[in-house]
């Protein structure tokens, strides 16, 4: 069994690689670990692509220049990024969409409730699963051989060159290979190992929910780092993590499990105490820090509390909240200590200095004499009915990966492999050392998936890899 290019993985980056290699004339086989119904990994849960553009472009309004995109990335990563690779990703995002359209992806104006990213993000019509479906259809048309339920557990690598992959006891040879099998966020044991035990003796990651696929077990990532000593990058405890509804499924809860009312009320922990400024900034700029905040609380749980005034002002939650006609009743229903809860709420309510409430601006409603302060949108929680939503940390993806340069080649002892490449979550940590900004995962996956596919086809034809992003005709 042999092929020119073997692609391991079945999400956006893997599909971009397979499509590029097939377009270059290589014979391509793609191995997706999941069954067909669950194909596409975390890409099936995505909804948009962060795009640089200097002028309005179809669904994108105004401009989002390279420098602004770079500054956004620099800010969220706190400098844990590689500027060259980041700028490569940014520039590629400005020209890749015609290629995506050619393979069946449709774009649409931003969704209602997501207008804050109308300028920066191009939304996929129907979301990521529609994109994944389109890419699979296009790949099949181009003759890519697709196998589902085909997890790879080991590679044969000689002197930095890929020889074959092992899949369910079968040895599959290829002239070149692209690794795009995702992070390790679905692997509970690995998360436990990475997060360890806290000072309370808890294993925090045992209470994490995984927002995406159950199939990102990190088998290949660990195999590359440990058996083959490939050059790695990133910290295993870094992950994109948001606060989600505690009732969300263990895997694949996706976008709809987000709880978007944090900034409209208060959040208390299991001890019924507040622990962070809920009104620090606009929610879209803060939701990504709340996963980690909740992870640090006892029991890795917190409760978002709102009153009737908040209803209709935030994206409707997927599950109905716990509802009560008084605050003490709400405390009881949530299983919180009633006295402490009332003390927290009374103190907060008394501390509110309400000015002109405006949820679309950093308004002047704030607290005084309350710790921690709530600096915006602080209004007393006093209008029945009251609602409570239990929150848990929800992991989107992990950042630990393999180090690359602008050829996307896997590196051993700082030497690039001739024919082994990596894309997607398995290398996103090169650009995103920590933090996140909406849609950038797909920008990285698309840019490096395409580079990896192009270079794998070149390697299969005995040619050297090209550096830099795929050049699109504009």
């Amino acid at each position: 069994m042999g092929t020119d290019v073997l692609v391991i993985g079945g999400g956006n980056a893997a599909l971009c690689a397979a499509l590029m290699a097939a377009e270059a004339g290589a014979s391509v086989m793609l191995l997706e670990a999941a069954p067909r119904d669950w194909r596409g990994g975390n890409s099936a849960h995505t909804r948009n692509l962060r795009c640089m553009h200097d002028a309005p472009q179809d669904v994108l309004v105004d401009a989002y220049p390279e420098e602004e995109f770079w500054q956004d990335l620099l800010k969220v990563t706190g400098g844990l990024t590689d500027e060259d690779l980041a700028r490569l990703t940014i520039r590629a995002s400005s020209t890749c969409r015609n290629w995506m359209r050619k393979h069946g992806v449709h774009f649409q104006p931003p969704l209602s409730g997501a207008l804050h990213v109308a300028r920066t993000n191009a939304f996929f019509m129907g979301g990521g699963k529609a994109l994944v479906n389109a890419y699979y259809r296009s790949a099949e048309k181009l003759g890519v051989k697709i196998r589902y339920e085909s997890p790879v557990d080991g590679l044969e690598i000689e002197n930095g060159e890929f020889r074959a992959a092992w899949c369910k006891g079968e040895r599959i040879e290829a002239k070149a290979c692209v690794l795009a099998a995702g992070g390790f966020e679905s692997n509970r044991d690995w998360l436990r190992e990475a997060w360890g035990q806290n000072e309370r003796g808890e294993w925090p990651s045992d209470n994490f929910l995984i927002r995406g696929t159950a199939y990102n077990q990190g088998v290949l990532l660990r195999h590359m780092l440990e058996q083959h000593q490939a050059d790695g990058i990133g910290d295993p405890t870094q992950a994109h993590m948001v606060a989600i509804d505690a009732r969300a499924p263990l895997y694949d809860g996706g976008i709809c499990t987000r709880i978007d009312c944090v900034s409209l009320g208060v959040v208390v922990n299991r001890e019924a105490k507040r622990f962070y400024d809920e009104g620090e900034d606009f929610w879209p700029k803060r939701y990504a820090i709340w996963g980690r905040l909740v992870a640090q609380q006892p029991g890795q749980v917190a409760y978002s509390i709102i009153d009737a005034k908040a209803i209709g002002r935030f994206m409707p939650p997927v599950f109905p909240g716990v509802t009560a006609n008084s605050l003490p009743e709400l405390a009881d229903k949530l299983g919180l200590d009633r006295a402490t809860f009332m003390q927290t709420l009374d103190r907060y309510n008394a501390g509110c200095r309400v000015g002109k409430f405006d949820h679309t601006a950093l308004d002047d409603c704030h607290t005084e004499g309350v710790t921690p302060a709530k600096t915006h949108w602080a209004r007393p929680i006093d209008t029945a009915p009251f609602y409570g939503y239990a929150l848990r940390p929800g992991v989107t993806f992990t950042y630990l990966g393999l180090k690359v340069d602008d050829t996307s080649a896997v590196r051993f002892a700082d030497q690039p492999s001739r024919n082994l490449f990596v894309a997607g979550e398995m290398m996103a940590g090169n650009v995103l050392g920590k933090g996140y900004t909406a849609g950038v995962g797909m920008s990285i996956g698309t840019a490096f998936g395409r580079i990896a596919g192009r270079n794998a086809a070149l390697a299969a034809a005995g040619k050297p890899a090209l550096a830099g992003a795929v050049k699109d005709e504009v």
């Binding site: 119904d37 209602s112 479906n133 002002r313 935030f314 679309t360």
Partner: protein, 393 residues
């Protein structure tokens, strides 16, 4: 940013009637999840209408279910579709409620249960029963077997069934159909109007809804490549075959109307031949109707098993078969007008037309009426300010 209300959104003035049936409850459950996701907003009218609501009462569910065109886009794109534990299948959930609304709003109410039985077998049985009845009537008139297979008619079927007899048979049925359907849709309208802003129809809204109906806008997938049929690929076939069917039917109907005018205004009696207007309209319409229904039949048989409500397939196929039979027998009647088969074909054609009309208010035809009403309410509602001001924007 979306306009934000300065005061909290007001509760509805009209009381929300909660969902009651299992199918309605399922739509309300699914839409609660969809409303927290919204990835499908670009596909059709259902999801933008959904985002104007935070909860889904019975009237909302009836409105949205009839707004859904069963294109399948939101099923194939859904990250929560089975085997996900949320098990979201909007096309199926909506179809089940639609089937119930057809029955619930049927007039007279007692006949609503006909929907459950209006299958392919029943439709065909009705055609053959009526055909047989007409044949027997002709026989018993005294003409004997010779009338049924003879050339003495010279292409003139009024010799067999006098014009006034035909009018006497078909006019009451037709008027009943119009009356029954309008009674049903009137009640539907009065239920959904209050939950779709309550505002009256404006000319621009009417124009938009008419456009959406006549172009079948919501079978274009939102991107123009069409809807789904047997898999996750987009296809324009359903839209095109539906157009052939719809416009073929309209042309046939126009042919009959023009012929009626000819008869009463000018005293020009049938049969008309080419190149007369009724014949031209009827011939083109008949061919178009045959092609359209044959195509829709094929597509229906190949349809992805998770699309829509499998229990309604006999109703769909029964209606398609009736339309095909009407068109085929009509064309055959014209082509064989000079042969001894005229009388037989005439009885078959009249039987098919009668069966089609008799079942119109209690079969698949209702989808056009209820969907048009929903599209009209949607066109009105979308012109009103969104009652939900999302602070997340």
């Amino acid at each position: 940013m979306q306009q934000l209300n300065s005061s909290p959104p007001k509760g509805r003035v009209i009381p929300i009637v909660p969902v009651s049936s299992a199918a309605e409850t399922e739509v309300a459950r699914a839409l609660q999840i969809c409303n927290a996701c919204r990835y499908c907003e670009g596909f059709c009218a259902v999801f933008p209408a959904m985002t104007r609501r935070l909860e889904f009462g019975q009237a909302d569910v009836h409105f949205l279910a009839n707004l859904c065109h069963n294109c399948g886009a939101c099923l194939h794109a859904c990250q929560y579709a089975p085997p996900h534990e949320f098990g979201i299948n909007i096309p199926k959930a909506m179809a089940e409620v639609r089937g119930q609304t057809y029955a619930e709003y049927a007039w007279p109410p007692a006949l609503g249960q006909l929907y459950q039985r209006n299958g392919l077998t029943l439709s065909l049985a009705l055609v053959f029963g009526l055909t047989l009845f007409l044949l027997l009537a002709v026989l018993l008139q005294g003409g004997g077997l010779g009338v049924l297979w003879g050339e003495q008619l010279q292409g003139s079927f009024y010799q067999l069934f006098p014009h006034n007899l035909l009018v006497g048979m078909f006019a009451p049925v037709f008027l009943f159909v119009v009356f029954a359907l309008s009674m049903g849709v009137r009640r539907f309208w009065s239920d959904i109007k209050p939950v779709t802003s309550g505002v009256d129809v404006s000319p621009p809204a009417a124009a938009e809804a008419t456009h959406d109906v006549l172009k079948l806008k919501y079978l274009d997938g939102g991107h123009g490549e069409g809807c789904h049929n047997e898999d996750d690929a987009y296809t324009l076939q359903r839209r095109r075959f539906h157009h052939l069917t719809f416009y073929g039917f309209a042309l046939c109907f126009a042919a009959t109307s023009v012929a009626t005018l000819y008869h009463y205004l000018f005293g020009w009696e049938a049969p008309y031949d080419l190149p007369s207007l009724p014949k031209l309209l009827g011939a083109v319409g008949g061919v178009s109707l045959m092609l359209g229904t044959a195509g829709l039949w094929q597509l229906n048989r190949k349809r992805h098993p998770m699309h829509g409500d499998a229990k309604q397939k006999p109703m769909d196929l029964g209606f398609i078969a009736l339309l095909f039979l009407v068109a085929a027998s009509g064309l055959a009647l014209w082509l064989a007008r000079a042969t001894p088969a005229l009388a037989l074909l005439l009885c078959l054609h009249l039987g098919a037309v009668m069966a089609l009309f008799a079942t119109l208010p209690y079969g698949k035809f209702a989808h056009g009426v209820f969907r048009t009403a929903s599209l009209l309410r949607h066109a009105v509602e979308k012109r009103q300010p969104n009652p939900i001001g999302l602070g997340a924007d």
